[in-house]
Symmetry: C2
Subunit: 180 residues, 2 copies
DNA sequence: CAATATATGGAATCATCATTCCGTTTGTCA
DNA sequence: TGACAAACGGAATGATGATTCCATATATTG
Protein backbone atom coordinates (compact mmCIF):
# COMPACT_ATOMS: atom_id res chain seq x y z
CA UNK A 1 0.00 0.00 0.00
CA UNK A 2 1.09 3.58 -0.30
CA UNK A 3 2.16 3.51 3.31
CA UNK A 4 5.35 2.12 1.93
CA UNK A 5 6.15 5.45 0.37
CA UNK A 6 5.48 7.40 3.51
CA UNK A 7 7.65 5.04 5.52
CA UNK A 8 10.44 5.60 3.04
CA UNK A 9 10.06 9.36 3.28
CA UNK A 10 9.91 9.28 7.04
CA UNK A 11 13.02 7.14 7.17
CA UNK A 12 14.86 9.50 4.88
CA UNK A 13 13.98 12.41 7.12
CA UNK A 14 14.76 10.56 10.31
CA UNK A 15 18.15 9.36 9.14
CA UNK A 16 18.96 12.77 7.72
CA UNK A 17 18.20 14.54 10.96
CA UNK A 18 19.08 12.01 13.61
CA UNK A 19 21.74 9.98 11.85
CA UNK A 20 21.87 6.26 11.30
CA UNK A 21 20.86 5.41 14.82
CA UNK A 22 17.44 7.00 14.51
CA UNK A 23 15.29 4.27 15.99
CA UNK A 24 12.53 2.47 14.17
CA UNK A 25 9.90 3.84 16.52
CA UNK A 26 10.91 7.34 15.55
CA UNK A 27 10.60 6.49 11.88
CA UNK A 28 7.18 4.94 12.42
CA UNK A 29 6.02 7.98 14.32
CA UNK A 30 7.18 10.37 11.60
CA UNK A 31 5.32 8.28 9.06
CA UNK A 32 2.24 8.27 11.27
CA UNK A 33 2.12 4.48 11.37
CA UNK A 34 2.94 1.74 13.85
CA UNK A 35 6.27 -0.05 13.91
CA UNK A 36 4.53 -3.17 12.67
CA UNK A 37 3.74 -1.37 9.45
CA UNK A 38 7.36 -0.43 8.94
CA UNK A 39 8.30 -4.08 9.29
CA UNK A 40 5.57 -5.21 6.91
CA UNK A 41 7.25 -3.24 4.15
CA UNK A 42 10.88 -3.73 5.05
CA UNK A 43 12.18 -6.87 6.72
CA UNK A 44 14.77 -5.03 8.79
CA UNK A 45 15.99 -1.56 9.55
CA UNK A 46 18.99 -2.34 7.41
CA UNK A 47 16.84 -3.15 4.38
CA UNK A 48 15.10 0.17 4.77
CA UNK A 49 18.46 1.86 4.89
CA UNK A 50 19.68 -0.01 1.82
CA UNK A 51 16.74 1.26 -0.20
CA UNK A 52 17.60 4.83 0.72
CA UNK A 53 21.30 4.46 0.13
CA UNK A 54 20.77 3.05 -3.30
CA UNK A 55 18.53 5.96 -4.09
CA UNK A 56 21.09 8.48 -2.89
CA UNK A 57 23.84 6.92 -4.91
CA UNK A 58 21.76 7.05 -8.07
CA UNK A 59 21.67 10.79 -7.56
CA UNK A 60 25.40 10.96 -6.99
CA UNK A 61 25.94 9.09 -10.24
CA UNK A 62 23.84 11.66 -12.06
CA UNK A 63 25.88 14.45 -10.52
CA UNK A 64 29.10 12.74 -11.52
CA UNK A 65 27.97 12.15 -15.08
CA UNK A 66 26.86 15.71 -15.45
CA UNK A 67 30.21 16.93 -14.14
CA UNK A 68 32.03 14.68 -16.55
CA UNK A 69 30.04 16.03 -19.47
CA UNK A 70 30.13 19.68 -18.45
CA UNK A 71 33.63 20.05 -17.07
CA UNK A 72 35.79 22.10 -19.37
CA UNK A 73 38.82 20.03 -18.45
CA UNK A 74 39.44 16.76 -16.63
CA UNK A 75 40.47 18.63 -13.52
CA UNK A 76 37.48 20.95 -13.65
CA UNK A 77 35.20 17.99 -14.04
CA UNK A 78 36.70 16.10 -11.14
CA UNK A 79 36.57 19.10 -8.89
CA UNK A 80 33.00 19.85 -9.83
CA UNK A 81 31.94 16.31 -9.21
CA UNK A 82 33.52 16.17 -5.79
CA UNK A 83 32.09 19.48 -4.64
CA UNK A 84 28.64 18.74 -5.95
CA UNK A 85 28.47 15.27 -4.52
CA UNK A 86 29.67 16.66 -1.23
CA UNK A 87 27.19 19.50 -1.16
CA UNK A 88 24.38 17.14 -1.96
CA UNK A 89 25.43 14.79 0.80
CA UNK A 90 26.28 17.30 3.47
CA UNK A 91 22.70 17.99 4.45
CA UNK A 92 21.94 14.40 5.19
CA UNK A 93 23.48 13.25 8.42
CA UNK A 94 22.63 9.65 7.71
CA UNK A 95 24.23 9.66 4.29
CA UNK A 96 27.35 11.27 5.69
CA UNK A 97 27.61 8.53 8.24
CA UNK A 98 27.26 5.95 5.53
CA UNK A 99 29.92 7.59 3.42
CA UNK A 100 32.24 7.45 6.37
CA UNK A 101 31.35 3.92 7.41
CA UNK A 102 30.94 2.16 4.10
CA UNK A 103 28.86 -0.90 4.97
CA UNK A 104 29.67 -4.05 3.01
CA UNK A 105 26.53 -3.74 0.89
CA UNK A 106 27.74 -0.43 -0.44
CA UNK A 107 30.56 -2.03 -2.36
CA UNK A 108 28.32 -4.27 -4.41
CA UNK A 109 25.47 -1.86 -4.99
CA UNK A 110 24.99 -1.11 -8.73
CA UNK A 111 24.88 2.64 -8.29
CA UNK A 112 28.06 2.49 -6.27
CA UNK A 113 29.81 0.55 -9.00
CA UNK A 114 28.70 3.04 -11.59
CA UNK A 115 29.95 5.90 -9.46
CA UNK A 116 33.27 4.16 -9.24
CA UNK A 117 33.32 3.76 -13.00
CA UNK A 118 32.64 7.39 -13.71
CA UNK A 119 35.15 8.64 -11.21
CA UNK A 120 37.64 6.14 -12.53
CA UNK A 121 37.35 7.70 -15.96
CA UNK A 122 37.76 11.16 -14.53
CA UNK A 123 40.86 10.29 -12.57
CA UNK A 124 42.38 8.52 -15.54
CA UNK A 125 41.69 11.51 -17.77
CA UNK A 126 43.25 13.82 -15.22
CA UNK A 127 46.35 11.70 -14.92
CA UNK A 128 46.70 11.45 -18.69
CA UNK A 129 46.16 15.18 -18.86
CA UNK A 130 48.79 15.89 -16.26
CA UNK A 131 46.40 17.80 -14.02
CA UNK A 132 46.05 15.05 -11.44
CA UNK A 133 49.03 13.61 -9.54
CA UNK A 134 50.57 10.80 -11.53
CA UNK A 135 50.09 8.11 -8.89
CA UNK A 136 46.38 8.81 -8.38
CA UNK A 137 43.91 5.92 -8.49
CA UNK A 138 40.15 5.46 -8.53
CA UNK A 139 40.48 4.35 -4.93
CA UNK A 140 41.54 7.84 -3.93
CA UNK A 141 38.08 9.17 -4.62
CA UNK A 142 36.03 6.98 -2.25
CA UNK A 143 38.80 7.46 0.29
CA UNK A 144 38.45 11.19 0.00
CA UNK A 145 34.67 10.96 0.22
CA UNK A 146 34.92 8.73 3.24
CA UNK A 147 36.88 11.40 5.05
CA UNK A 148 34.44 13.99 3.83
CA UNK A 149 31.56 12.01 5.33
CA UNK A 150 33.30 11.91 8.66
CA UNK A 151 34.01 15.63 8.73
CA UNK A 152 30.50 16.52 7.65
CA UNK A 153 28.89 14.19 10.19
CA UNK A 154 31.02 15.49 13.04
CA UNK A 155 30.62 19.09 12.02
CA UNK A 156 26.87 18.59 11.82
CA UNK A 157 26.86 17.19 15.31
CA UNK A 158 28.84 20.25 16.42
CA UNK A 159 31.55 18.09 17.92
CA UNK A 160 34.53 19.44 19.77
CA UNK A 161 36.50 22.62 19.83
CA UNK A 162 38.52 21.20 16.95
CA UNK A 163 37.89 23.21 13.84
CA UNK A 164 36.29 20.49 11.75
CA UNK A 165 35.06 21.80 8.45
CA UNK A 166 34.31 19.63 5.45
CA UNK A 167 34.89 22.43 2.99
CA UNK A 168 38.34 23.02 4.35
CA UNK A 169 38.96 19.28 4.31
CA UNK A 170 38.03 18.94 0.65
CA UNK A 171 40.05 21.99 -0.28
CA UNK A 172 43.20 20.48 1.16
CA UNK A 173 42.49 17.00 -0.10
CA UNK A 174 41.84 18.19 -3.63
CA UNK A 175 45.06 20.19 -3.57
CA UNK A 176 46.77 17.02 -2.50
CA UNK A 177 45.33 15.18 -5.48
CA UNK A 178 46.27 17.82 -7.98
CA UNK A 179 49.55 17.48 -9.82
CA UNK A 180 52.27 19.79 -8.61
CA UNK B 1 45.40 -2.98 44.84
CA UNK B 2 47.46 -3.84 41.83
CA UNK B 3 44.34 -5.14 40.11
CA UNK B 4 43.93 -1.59 39.01
CA UNK B 5 46.92 -1.94 36.75
CA UNK B 6 45.74 -5.18 35.21
CA UNK B 7 42.32 -3.67 34.54
CA UNK B 8 44.01 -0.79 32.82
CA UNK B 9 46.10 -3.14 30.70
CA UNK B 10 43.13 -5.33 29.89
CA UNK B 11 41.14 -2.29 28.85
CA UNK B 12 43.94 -1.07 26.65
CA UNK B 13 44.09 -4.45 24.94
CA UNK B 14 40.34 -4.78 24.65
CA UNK B 15 39.86 -1.34 23.15
CA UNK B 16 42.81 -1.86 20.87
CA UNK B 17 41.47 -5.13 19.48
CA UNK B 18 37.73 -4.71 19.66
CA UNK B 19 37.39 -0.98 19.36
CA UNK B 20 35.63 1.41 21.68
CA UNK B 21 32.55 -0.74 22.04
CA UNK B 22 34.41 -3.57 23.71
CA UNK B 23 32.10 -4.31 26.61
CA UNK B 24 33.04 -4.07 30.24
CA UNK B 25 32.55 -7.79 30.74
CA UNK B 26 35.15 -8.48 28.10
CA UNK B 27 37.59 -6.13 29.80
CA UNK B 28 36.96 -7.80 33.16
CA UNK B 29 37.48 -11.21 31.64
CA UNK B 30 40.76 -10.22 30.03
CA UNK B 31 41.93 -8.85 33.35
CA UNK B 32 40.83 -12.05 35.05
CA UNK B 33 38.54 -10.18 37.43
CA UNK B 34 34.82 -9.61 37.85
CA UNK B 35 33.03 -6.58 36.50
CA UNK B 36 32.56 -5.37 40.04
CA UNK B 37 36.29 -5.00 40.36
CA UNK B 38 36.49 -2.91 37.24
CA UNK B 39 33.91 -0.58 38.72
CA UNK B 40 35.69 -0.46 42.05
CA UNK B 41 38.64 1.17 40.30
CA UNK B 42 36.90 3.27 37.67
CA UNK B 43 33.48 4.82 38.22
CA UNK B 44 32.39 4.33 34.61
CA UNK B 45 33.58 2.84 31.37
CA UNK B 46 34.15 6.36 30.16
CA UNK B 47 36.49 7.14 33.06
CA UNK B 48 38.50 4.07 32.21
CA UNK B 49 38.70 5.23 28.64
CA UNK B 50 39.71 8.72 29.67
CA UNK B 51 42.64 7.35 31.64
CA UNK B 52 43.87 5.50 28.57
CA UNK B 53 43.35 8.39 26.20
CA UNK B 54 45.21 10.76 28.41
CA UNK B 55 48.05 8.30 28.54
CA UNK B 56 48.13 7.92 24.77
CA UNK B 57 48.14 11.63 24.24
CA UNK B 58 51.06 12.10 26.59
CA UNK B 59 52.97 9.82 24.28
CA UNK B 60 51.87 11.74 21.21
CA UNK B 61 53.07 14.95 22.82
CA UNK B 62 56.47 13.40 23.35
CA UNK B 63 56.59 12.32 19.74
CA UNK B 64 55.62 15.79 18.61
CA UNK B 65 58.19 17.48 20.79
CA UNK B 66 60.90 15.17 19.61
CA UNK B 67 59.96 15.86 15.99
CA UNK B 68 60.03 19.58 16.63
CA UNK B 69 63.49 19.34 18.11
CA UNK B 70 64.92 16.92 15.60
CA UNK B 71 63.38 18.09 12.36
CA UNK B 72 65.94 19.71 10.14
CA UNK B 73 63.33 22.14 8.84
CA UNK B 74 59.82 23.14 9.83
CA UNK B 75 58.36 20.97 7.09
CA UNK B 76 60.51 17.97 7.98
CA UNK B 77 59.47 18.34 11.58
CA UNK B 78 55.79 18.55 10.78
CA UNK B 79 55.95 15.59 8.48
CA UNK B 80 57.87 13.53 10.98
CA UNK B 81 55.46 14.34 13.73
CA UNK B 82 52.43 13.41 11.69
CA UNK B 83 53.88 10.11 10.49
CA UNK B 84 55.13 9.11 13.88
CA UNK B 85 51.95 9.98 15.70
CA UNK B 86 50.03 8.08 13.07
CA UNK B 87 52.24 5.03 13.22
CA UNK B 88 52.00 4.97 16.97
CA UNK B 89 48.22 5.21 16.83
CA UNK B 90 47.57 2.88 13.95
CA UNK B 91 47.97 -0.29 15.96
CA UNK B 92 45.32 0.65 18.43
CA UNK B 93 41.82 0.33 17.06
CA UNK B 94 40.34 2.09 20.06
CA UNK B 95 42.61 5.08 19.80
CA UNK B 96 41.91 5.37 16.10
CA UNK B 97 38.22 5.50 16.84
CA UNK B 98 38.82 8.19 19.39
CA UNK B 99 40.88 10.23 16.97
CA UNK B 100 38.06 10.00 14.48
CA UNK B 101 35.28 10.69 16.97
CA UNK B 102 36.82 13.27 19.23
CA UNK B 103 34.73 13.04 22.39
CA UNK B 104 34.14 16.28 24.26
CA UNK B 105 36.61 15.36 26.99
CA UNK B 106 39.41 15.23 24.46
CA UNK B 107 39.26 18.94 23.85
CA UNK B 108 39.95 19.91 27.43
CA UNK B 109 42.48 17.22 28.29
CA UNK B 110 45.87 18.75 29.21
CA UNK B 111 47.85 16.47 26.93
CA UNK B 112 45.56 17.35 24.06
CA UNK B 113 46.07 21.05 24.65
CA UNK B 114 49.81 20.59 24.71
CA UNK B 115 49.68 18.65 21.49
CA UNK B 116 47.75 21.49 19.97
CA UNK B 117 50.34 23.94 21.19
CA UNK B 118 53.26 22.05 19.73
CA UNK B 119 51.59 21.48 16.41
CA UNK B 120 50.53 25.11 16.38
CA UNK B 121 54.17 26.15 16.61
CA UNK B 122 55.12 23.77 13.85
CA UNK B 123 52.44 24.99 11.50
CA UNK B 124 53.31 28.60 12.22
CA UNK B 125 56.98 27.92 11.56
CA UNK B 126 56.12 26.20 8.31
CA UNK B 127 53.96 29.05 7.14
CA UNK B 128 56.60 31.61 8.05
CA UNK B 129 59.12 29.45 6.29
CA UNK B 130 57.03 29.18 3.17
CA UNK B 131 57.01 25.40 3.23
CA UNK B 132 53.42 25.09 4.42
CA UNK B 133 50.48 26.54 2.52
CA UNK B 134 49.94 30.12 3.56
CA UNK B 135 46.39 29.69 4.78
CA UNK B 136 47.19 26.73 7.04
CA UNK B 137 46.01 26.76 10.65
CA UNK B 138 46.54 24.67 13.76
CA UNK B 139 43.05 23.34 13.21
CA UNK B 140 44.22 21.61 10.06
CA UNK B 141 46.28 19.17 12.09
CA UNK B 142 43.54 17.65 14.26
CA UNK B 143 41.33 17.62 11.19
CA UNK B 144 43.94 15.63 9.32
CA UNK B 145 44.39 13.28 12.27
CA UNK B 146 40.66 12.82 12.57
CA UNK B 147 40.54 11.60 9.00
CA UNK B 148 43.55 9.45 9.65
CA UNK B 149 41.78 7.82 12.59
CA UNK B 150 38.83 7.00 10.42
CA UNK B 151 40.93 5.45 7.68
CA UNK B 152 43.01 3.45 10.11
CA UNK B 153 39.99 2.17 12.02
CA UNK B 154 38.18 1.12 8.86
CA UNK B 155 41.26 -0.39 7.30
CA UNK B 156 41.86 -2.34 10.50
CA UNK B 157 38.34 -3.65 10.40
CA UNK B 158 38.99 -4.71 6.80
CA UNK B 159 35.96 -2.82 5.59
CA UNK B 160 34.84 -2.75 2.03
CA UNK B 161 36.41 -3.24 -1.36
CA UNK B 162 37.22 0.47 -1.26
CA UNK B 163 40.94 0.89 -1.10
CA UNK B 164 41.18 2.56 2.28
CA UNK B 165 44.75 3.05 3.34
CA UNK B 166 45.83 5.49 6.00
CA UNK B 167 49.32 5.85 4.56
CA UNK B 168 47.92 6.88 1.23
CA UNK B 169 45.53 9.22 2.98
CA UNK B 170 48.30 10.98 4.89
CA UNK B 171 50.46 11.19 1.81
CA UNK B 172 47.78 13.07 -0.07
CA UNK B 173 46.74 15.19 2.87
CA UNK B 174 50.30 16.25 3.62
CA UNK B 175 50.82 17.16 -0.01
CA UNK B 176 47.68 19.22 0.28
CA UNK B 177 49.12 21.05 3.27
CA UNK B 178 52.45 21.74 1.67
CA UNK B 179 52.94 25.05 -0.10
CA UNK B 180 52.88 24.81 -3.87
C1' DC C 1 -23.77 -8.65 1.97
C1' DA C 2 -21.00 -12.44 3.95
C1' DA C 3 -16.63 -14.72 3.91
C1' DT C 4 -11.84 -14.37 3.18
C1' DA C 5 -7.52 -12.14 2.59
C1' DT C 6 -4.55 -8.21 3.56
C1' DA C 7 -2.74 -4.28 6.16
C1' DT C 8 -2.29 -1.95 10.60
C1' DG C 9 -1.06 -0.50 15.37
C1' DG C 10 1.36 -1.07 19.15
C1' DA C 11 2.10 -4.01 23.19
C1' DA C 12 5.12 -7.85 24.35
C1' DT C 13 9.50 -10.16 23.53
C1' DC C 14 14.56 -10.60 23.11
C1' DA C 15 19.03 -9.26 23.21
C1' DT C 16 22.68 -6.25 24.55
C1' DC C 17 25.14 -3.52 27.86
C1' DA C 18 26.40 -0.47 31.53
C1' DT C 19 25.95 -0.18 36.22
C1' DT C 20 24.58 -1.69 41.03
C1' DC C 21 24.29 -4.85 44.95
C1' DC C 22 25.51 -8.02 48.17
C1' DG C 23 27.29 -12.41 49.95
C1' DT C 24 32.15 -14.14 50.02
C1' DT C 25 37.14 -13.99 50.25
C1' DT C 26 41.49 -12.02 51.50
C1' DG C 27 44.36 -9.03 54.13
C1' DT C 28 45.42 -6.37 58.44
C1' DC C 29 46.07 -5.50 63.03
C1' DA C 30 45.94 -6.35 67.96
C1' DT D 1 44.34 -16.35 66.17
C1' DG D 2 39.95 -13.52 65.97
C1' DA D 3 37.47 -9.50 64.47
C1' DC D 4 37.11 -5.71 61.22
C1' DA D 5 37.88 -3.77 56.80
C1' DA D 6 39.04 -3.59 52.03
C1' DA D 7 38.73 -5.99 47.62
C1' DC D 8 36.23 -9.42 45.01
C1' DG D 9 33.11 -11.94 41.78
C1' DG D 10 29.33 -12.21 39.34
C1' DA D 11 24.28 -12.44 39.50
C1' DA D 12 20.50 -9.04 39.32
C1' DT D 13 18.80 -4.54 37.62
C1' DG D 14 17.58 -0.99 34.28
C1' DA D 15 17.62 1.12 29.97
C1' DT D 16 17.55 1.10 25.14
C1' DG D 17 16.12 -0.65 20.73
C1' DA D 18 15.21 -4.06 17.11
C1' DT D 19 11.96 -7.47 15.92
C1' DT D 20 7.78 -10.41 16.58
C1' DC D 21 2.89 -11.31 17.48
C1' DC D 22 -1.76 -10.96 17.32
C1' DA D 23 -6.23 -8.79 17.89
C1' DT D 24 -8.45 -5.35 15.01
C1' DA D 25 -9.63 -2.85 10.89
C1' DT D 26 -9.90 -2.52 5.89
C1' DA D 27 -10.23 -4.17 1.33
C1' DT D 28 -11.63 -7.94 -2.01
C1' DT D 29 -14.38 -11.23 -4.01
C1' DG D 30 -18.21 -14.27 -5.09
Amino acid sequence: MRNRASVLDAARAAFAEEGLDADVASIAERAGVGVGTVYRHFPTKEALLAALISDHFERLVEIAERAEAEGSSPWEALEQMVWNCARRSAEDHGLCEILSQPPPLLGTMPASLRLREVSGRMVAAGVADGSVRADATVADIPMMMCGFGKMAALQRRGVGPLGLDWKRYLTIMLDGLRAR
